[in-house]
Structure formats: structure tokens, C-alpha cells
């Protein structure tokens, strides 16, 4: 460590701190605006618009959102269940497929790996897939429509395969000599050794399920089956309609939360992610770094 910093280093550090700070602020600013918007009285928004620091503090939007909490609770229920079941089942199927494809003595591993990989290169497109889901699998308005499409992805299987390949072969071989079956080897030996890979893929899957809104938009029609993010989307869109319909009939000194309600809904739907973020981020960075170094 040098005691006196070189001039060029000072310049470099100054530029660096400025750029990084600006980018970090830009990343954080939208979140702050939503949170501050949700705590602003509706009257202030109507009169002056959204801003970073409101003049007055109000919990109206939250008390309105929780005055009939059924919608939100339903949304949470659907999202939590789909995320848990989807991630568990998906991890199980992904790791089994990865295990089989990582076995050297399995003759068809390359052919089957390509069979799976090919789906990332070419697809029939959204519409044939949609017709398949609705007309032939009859999944319109079914929870399965939210669960099934995210269960497996070719990338995750390949990632899992590569991870399991790095586990020394001697482990499986000695187990085989002891007479262990393939499924036992997978369950008792390989799976416990694959926890870092499982954690990374599991986090990606859970995040995907939690943030899911597109499938609900395509398939779900019953409101009580809406997952959280789709509910938020609906609130953002339909509250606007509500506002224009009632605007004329209101007395001037009363404003029910509408704009601020949207912001509160955004906070409620994103809260858990932000709350878990500090714990989860470390895993993500670690998992990503493993993948990146390996190329």
C-alpha cells in the first residue's frame, strides 16, 4: 500500500466514484419513488403529482388496500404455492435429467441432450403453443397453466449436467460396486453433492415463478386465481379506468386513494423480494461466478 496516491489514481477514483454513484442512484430511484408515492395523501398527488419527498405522510393507501384484503391474500396464496411446488418439482425433474445426461456409460446421452437443446434453437412460436395448451391440454383457467411451463428449461438441465459432470466419477463407481441402483446413487450421493448447483438453479426458478404474470395473462380468467404480479398488473391497469369513471361525482374535499393505491399495491407485491434480497443476492453472485469462470 502506497502512502501517497498517484495523481492519475486520484483522477481515476474520482471518475469512478461519480459514475458508479450516478448509476446506483438511477437503479434505486424508481423504488424510492414508488415507496414515497404509496405514503403520500391522494389529494397531494392529484394537486401536485408524484414526487420524491411528499409534504405530508399518509397511510390511507395501505389501509384502503387492506380494508378488503381478500384479493391480496389470494394473490399471495397462489404465488407462494406455485413458487414452492414449481421450484421443488422443477428441481427434482431437472436434477434427474441432468444426472442421466451426465452419466458417461449412458449410450444415448448425447442424442438426448441434443433433443433437449434443440428446443432452444427452434420453436413453433407462441400461437401454436397457446393452442396446444388451451385446445388440446385444456389448461385454460387452470393452476397447471401457471405451473407446468416453468418446470423445465433446457438451459437449467444443461447447467445441471455440467455441474454433475464435475463430481468425481469414482464416487458413482464405488457405489455401483457396492450394488447401489442408479436412483439410489442419484438420491443419496449425487444430489447432496450438487447443493450449490441446485441452490443456484432453484433460486432462478423461484424468482421466475414469483415474478410470473405472462402465463396468468394468457390463461387465467378467474380473479381469485390471479398470482400476485398479475393482480398488480390488473390493479395498475383497472384503477385507471375506475378513476376516470368516478372523477365527476366526487366532492372536492374527498379523494379516495387511487393513484397512491397503485403504488401501495406495487410495494405489497414486491416487498418479500426486497426483504429476501440481501440473503439471496450472495447465492446469486456465487452461482453466477461459478458459471462464468467455467465458461
Amino acid at each position: 500500500m502506497k502512502i501517497k496516491m498517484e495523481k492519475t489514481t486520484i483522477v481515476f477514483n474520482a471518475i469512478g466514484y461519480v459514475i458508479i454513484t450516478i448509476l446506483a442512484v438511477l437503479c434505486l430511484l424508481p423504488f424510492l419513488l414508488i415507496v414515497s408515492g404509496s405514503f403520500t395523501p391522494e389529494m397531494e398527488i392529484v394537486a401536485q403529482g408524484f414526487k420524491l419527498i411528499p409534504k405530508q405522510f399518509s397511510l390511507d393507501a395501505y389501509s384502503a388496500a387492506f380494508s378488503s384484503p381478500k384479493q391480496i391474500l389470494d394473490g399471495y396464496k397462489v404465488t407462494v404455492l406455485i413458487t414452492l411446488i414449481g421450484t421443488m418439482l422443477g428441481l427434482f425433474l431437472t436434477s434427474m435429467a441432468g444426472f442421466v445426461l451426465s452419466r458417461k456409460e449412458f449410450k444415448y446421452k448425447d442424442k438426448l441432450a441434443f433433443f433437449i437443446y434443440f428446443t432452444t434453437l427452434f420453436s413453433g412460436g407462441l400461437i401454436p403453443w397457446y393452442i396446444m395448451m388451451v385446445k388440446y391440454l385444456d389448461l385454460k383457467d387452470s393452476y397447471l397453466a401457471l405451473l407446468l411451463p416453468g418446470l423445465l428449461s433446457a438451459w437449467n438441465i444443461i447447467l445441471m449436467k455440467n455441474f454433475m459432470k464435475s463430481i468425481p466419477e469414482s464416487i458413482t463407481e464405488s457405489a455401483k460396486i457396492d450394488g447401489a441402483g442408479e436412483f439410489t446413487i442419484y438420491l443419496k450421493l449425487i444430489l447432496p453433492l450438487s447443493t450449490p448447483g441446485l441452490a443456484t438453479i432453484g433460486l432462478f426458478m423461484a424468482l421466475g415463478y414469483w415474478n410470473e404474470w405472462f402465463l396468468a395473462n394468457l390463461f387465467i380468467t378467474t380473479e381469485s386465481k390471479f398470482p400476485l404480479q398479475f393482480l398488480l398488473y390488473k390493479i395498475l391497469a383497472s384503477a385507471a379506468v375506475l378513476k376516470t369513471n368516478v372523477a365527476g361525482n366526487l366532492s372536492p374535499d374527498f379523494q379516495p386513494p387511487a393513484e397512491t393505491l397503485k403504488m401501495a399495491a406495487a410495494v405489497i407485491a414486491t416487498g418479500p423480494i426486497i426483504f429476501l434480497y440481501p440473503f439471496v443476492q450472495r447465492f446469486f453472485v456465487k452461482g453466477l461466478t461459478i458459471g462464468a469462470v467455467k465458461g
Binding site: F12, G124, P128, I131, L207
Partner: protein
């Protein structure tokens, strides 16, 4: 054939273990591929797959002659190029600064903050856009009014949305990409830096002559890989930001949003499938080409 059954019998358990995955891809990927046939029909709901009237290339001809296809392709490709270039350059820049700046707490905090957008849903991005740009009470208009300027109605002007879309794309991927580049920088041996320091190189010279050259392969590889997907659009991003605002389509409609609207708004199954097939087919050709190039330059990084 016989040997296949023998193999199947010998590895029964392994086959059973991968069977659910194979079934999944058959049902959700391979069978729908048959459905590209819709692209050559005038679709009727009663007729279904093979009961609809066959009209040959008519859907493609319409898409091509009406200029729709050209506009969609142009938008999809140009947006992707902007995404790829701006994202990668900013991520690279952040990674270089974060690896060289002193101050552990500062770096940890900013890196966490920059990674945060990656974790939130695109619906929330829609909420941000509403909060910032809506014409009645958006933050931007609040600020404009406080500065004594006229409010700006974003929803009737097409010009700003290009930048808004690019901004939020870059915003969402910044932290993720930075981590990838940081990992590449960390793998550079310290010896280079030590040797350069002894030779009296300042930090700019070290960035220019050590870090940059070492990162160029990663940079080019990531760009090449992204180029393979240049016809694929990010539906979530465009749909949550633009939604069904028809006034903005001319400059913000990509293949994916067009296909979605064909399905969910216009019910034009044949035309939508045709646009989707066009995307899939040329996307496929592109990936094969890109892979061929990577194979020539750095065969160990080739996809297949």
C-alpha cells in the same frame, strides 16, 4: 433396433429418470412445432389444425407486402443492437471501476443496489413507468412544473419511448452483467498488475493495456452470443412499458408484441403464426451462423 431395446432394458432406471423431461419437451416444444402449419392457413376455430383452409404463402405475402414485417424486423433488430451495445459497455465500465476502486463498503453497497432491478418483475417496471411518465401526475411532469415549464404528454409522443425502453432494459441487466465481467477481471492474474506497477504504469495504462485486452475475448463472445438472439424480442419489457397504446406501435412494435396481439387482440391466428415462424426460422439461421463463426475463432466457446 434390437440393440436399442437392449440398451433400454439395461438402463431402464436411467430412461425412466429422464422420461418426464423428454415428455415435457415433446408436449410443450416438439408437438407445437407441428402447429406452424397454421401459418399457411386461414384459421378457423371449428376446423382446428387440419380443418382450416390452406392458403399457401398468402399470410407471408401480406406481412411482406404491407411493410409490417419490415417494420417489425427493423424495430426488433435495432432495439436489440442498442440493448446489447449499451448494456455491455456499461457493465464492462462498472466492472472495471468496481474492481479497481478502493472502499469496500461503497463497492458492496453500490453493487447490491445495481443488482436489485434484476430481481423485480416487469410488472413493477410498468408501475415505475406509470409513476414517472403518466401525464396527469407523473414525477417528470411534477418536476417540469416546479421548474415553471409546460407539462409534457408522454402518451401522445412517440419520440421518448425508444429511450425509455432502452433505459429500463439496461437498468434491469446492469448488476447481472457487471458480476459476469467482474468474475472475468478477477481471473486476471495479479502478476500482470504487479509487473506493470513496477514498470511505473499508472492505473489508466493498466486498464488500457492489461484489463481491456484480457476482457476483449469475453466481451466479443458475449456480444456474438447475444447477436444470435437478435430477432428474439423481450415481450415483458415492451408490453409492460407500452401496453396496448396503439399510437406508439410504429416505433415500439416488435415481432413478439405483434404475435401476441394477433393472438389476444386481433384473433388473427394465421398471420400471427406466420410472423412467429418467420422469427423462429431466421432466428435459427442466425444462431447457426453465429455458432459457425465462434467455432472458427474460439471453438471451445461454441454452443454446439
Amino acid at each position: 433396433m434390437k440393440s436399442m431395446f437392449q440398451e433400454l432394458n439395461r438402463n431402464k432406471v436411467l430412461f425412466l429418470m429422464i422420461a418426464p423431461a423428454l415428455l415435457f419437451f415433446i408436449v410443450f416444444s416438439y408437438v407445437p412445432m407441428v402447429g406452424v402449419y397454421y401459418a399457411f392457413t386461414r384459421f378457423s376455430f371449428d376446423g382446428g389444425l387440419f380443418g382450416s383452409e390452406f392458403i399457401g404463402m398468402k399470410n407471408f405475402e401480406f406481412l411482406f407486402n404491407s411493410g409490417v414485417l419490415w417494420n417489425l424486423t427493423k424495430n426488433t433488430v435495432l432495439y436489440n443492437i442498442a440493448f446489447i451495445l449499451i448494456s455491455n459497455i456499461l457493465q464492462l465500465l462498472c466492472a472495471i471501476f468496481l474492481s479497481e476502486l478502493p472502499g469496500k463498503l461503497f463497492k458492496k453497497t453500490t453493487q447490491s443496489v445495481m443488482f436489485l432491478p434484476f430481481f423485480v418483475s416487469f410488472v413493477l417496471v410498468g408501475a415505475f413507468v406509470f409513476n414517472l411518465f403518466n401525464s396527469d401526475n407523473g414525477v417528470i411532469n411534477t418536476v417540469l412544473q416546479q421548474l415553471g415549464m409546460q407539462p409534457y404528454d408522454f402518451y401522445v409522443h412517440t419520440a421518448p419511448w425508444k429511450y425509455i425502453i432502452v433505459f429500463f432494459h439496461v437498468w434491469k441487466g446492469l448488476g447481472y452483467g457487471t458480476v459476469i465481467y467482474l468474475a472475468a477481471i478477477m481471473s486476471i492474474s495479479d502478476e500482470y498488475h504487479e509487473a506493470a506497477k513496477i514498470d511505473g504504469a499508472n492505473i489508466f495504462q493498466r486498464v488500457r493495456h492489461i484489463i481491456m485486452p484480457m476482457l476483449v475475448p469475453t466481451f466479443i463472445l458475449l456480444i456474438l452470443l447475444s447477436l444470435g438472439g437478435i430477432l428474439k424480442g423481450q415481450f415483458d419489457l415492451f408490453y409492460q412499458i407500452i401496453g396496448n397504446n396503439g399510437m406508439l406501435y410504429n416505433s415500439t412494435d416488435i415481432i413478439d408484441t405483434y404475435v401476441y396481439r394477433s393472438l389476444a387482440v386481433n384473433f388473427d391466428i394465421g398471420m400471427g403464426t406466420a410472423a412467429g415462424l418467420y422469427q423462429s426460422f431466421f432466428g435459427f439461421v442466425l444462431i447457426i451462423t453465429v455458432n459457425f463463426i465462434i467455432r472458427k475463432v474460439r471453438s471451445d466457446y461454441a454452443l454446439f
